[in-house]
């Protein structure tokens, strides 16, 4: 049973499409890399999946993910790093869906939070203020929060940008662990070699979907060149799209 199904999906801003007529499905337990140049619509697609951006046309169907919800790592998190809060408390917020506004954080939760922090190698940083973390440590902490969220669907928007090799290798191992646990993972990435090595499935996006399927079939030189020729600018005098709505 497919977990996410895009039906003629168009997402965008002020009527200009940033993802145009996307059709397809992400299967339960899939590990999908979303590849494409800057402005290809990767982040836009993720905002649509998470639900913060409503489709201009078409629809997204989400099956069987209501329980744990979606764990989403945005490209630029809106975190106020000067806020006086520690790593432990930030990771604990990952339990929001099960604990909510009033639920207590009990011994079992404490264990889960510690385990999540250990999984990203931040043990010993529990009481450090988030403002004192390096860029890589910050990303590790956000991954720990994703672990604590325990979601069936995990959406990562450029998780390894500006992260050193060792950190990205360790975080990538976490992504592979999620895949082994039959969670569905979508990740926007620029490193084509990395995608070829780790991700069995890829979606090549250049506003229009260029190709979607097994990675070795999608990431061909021909397809990548086609994606590269995509024009980023919106045409301000564009006509209304002629493709039928349904």
């Amino acid at each position: 049973m497919p977990e996410l199904r895009f039906k003629n999906l168009t997402l965008g801003y002020e009527r200009h499409p940033a993802v145009h007529h996307l059709e397809g499905a992400v299967k339960n337990g899939a590990l999908v890399a979303v590849v494409g140049p800057n402005g290809a619509g990767k982040s836009t697609l993720f905002k649509g999946i998470v639900g913060t951006l409503k489709p201009l046309a078409g629809s997204i169907e989400r099956h069987g993910i209501d329980g744990g919800g979606i764990a989403y790592l945005p490209q630029v998190p809106e975190i106020d790093r000067s806020f006086p809060i520690g790593v432990y408390d930030m990771v604990a917020m990952g339990l929001w869906r099960s604990r909510g506004v009033f639920g207590g954080i009990a011994g079992k939760d404490n264990h889960a939070i510690k385990a999540a922090i250990a999984a990203v190698g931040l043990t010993g940083f529990e009481h450090r203020a988030i403002g004192t973390l390096s860029g890589g440590q910050m990303q590790r902490m956000l991954f720990a929060r994703l672990v604590a969220q325990d979601a069936r669907l995990i959406v990562l928007d450029e998780p390894f940008a500006a992260i050193d090799a060792r950190t990205s290798t360790e975080l990538l191992a976490l992504v592979q662990r999620w895949h082994a646990e039959r969670r569905t993972v979508l990740a926007a990435l620029h490193d084509v070699d990395l995608v070829r090595a780790v991700f069995p499935e890829a979606l090549l996006l250049a506003r229009e979907p260029v190709a979607w399927g097994p990675t070795h079939e999608v990431l061909t030189v021909e397809n990548l060149n086609k994606a590269r020729r995509m024009c980023e600018a919106f045409d301000e005098s564009a006509e209304a799209c002629a493709v039928a709505a349904e």
């Binding site: 979606i70 998190p77 809106e78 806020f83 006086p84 809060i85 869906r97």
Partner: protein, 289 residues
């Protein structure tokens, strides 16, 4: 000697005891709200809201004289109207919320002063703007105590979404709708606490008890709980020392309290262990690791 100076003023005079109880109550309620205003970069919001209360309280005064329930009730309504109005204008026009608040609060101040002058004297006006700590009656005391109790309780209830909405609003939106509700309830707490402070310190100084101790606390604590403890403690000290100062030197008591709070703030800027200027002048040696 110590007794005479530090305790006797309160032991001997009932109005001093009432003033102390009233300001202590405010010192427990307002500073925690101020800490969140500061952390949410809304420090000037308190100022704007305090002005917004004035025309409401003035209309209450016009209709019912110096009646506490009328002034507090009407002040509360005016405060909410301005808060909601600023939010609506921010949503419907290109103006940001702080811009529309800045516009609305000077209008409120001018309107309030005008309305008070229609009926009252200059003494009434001074009472409105700067309060009268030494003339708190039982009704006002009851109101302030009730406001502080409710405010602390509600703050405890919205604590988790309020903290998360302050530090990572995007994440909170992705898991819950509680952020918007927490923001609205928090604004209500700001208004309610300022109405309480208005009885004692007037519209212009009420915000002092909210913000000065809160801003001071940043120099003494690293986490929100610690900051709130420091803020309340410094507000308590300001209340006590300010009342003594006004008694001994025959100064107006509201401004005396705020001046003491201001002095503590300046000392903290200079000497505070977290980010005080002292450590710029004499940097401590860095650690091994």
């Amino acid at each position: 000697m110590l007794y005479e100076n530090l305790i006797a003023p309160f032991a001997d005079f009932e109005f001093m005891r009432r003033a102390l109880l009233g300001t202590f109550a405010i010192a427990f309620g307002a500073p925690p709200i101020g800490v969140f205003l500061m952390l949410r970069r809304m420090s000037l919001m308190g100022d704007a809201m305090a002005h917004a209360i004035l025309p409401g309280a003035a209309i209450g005064f016009l209709l019912a004289g110096l009646s506490l329930p009328a002034m507090a009730g009407a002040g509360l309504i005016a405060g909410f109207l301005i808060a909601i109005g600023a939010g609506l204008i921010a949503r419907a026009t290109p103006l940001k919320e702080d811009a529309s608040l800045a516009a609305l609060f000077v209008i409120s101040l001018a309107l309030g002063v005008t309305i008070v002058s229609l009926k009252g004297s200059n003494i009434d006006l001074m009472h409105f703007l700067f309060g009268s700590v030494l003339a708190i009656d039982n009704a006002a005391l009851g109101l302030i105590l009730a406001i502080t109790s409710v405010s602390l309780l509600v703050l405890a209830l919205i604590w988790r979404p309020l903290v998360l909405d302050s530090v990572d609003p995007g994440f909170l939106r992705s898991v819950s709708r509680a952020g918007g509700a927490a923001h609205v309830v928090f604004l209500a707490l700001v208004v309610v606490n300022l109405v309480g402070g208005f009885q004692v310190l007037g519209t212009l100084l009420a915000v002092g008890m909210m913000m000065l101790p809160a801003i001071t606390s940043r120099f003494w604590a690293r986490d929100v709980t610690g900051m709130i403890v420091v803020a309340v403690a410094s507000a308590l000290i300001s209340s006590y020392a300010g009342l003594l100062l006004s008694y001994a030197a025959d100064l107006p008591s509201g401004p005396a309290i705020i001046l003491v709070a201001g002095l503590i703030y300046l000392l903290s800027v200079a000497l505070g262990p977290f980010g005080g200027l002292l450590w710029l002048v004499w940097p401590r040696r860095h650690l091994e690791a």
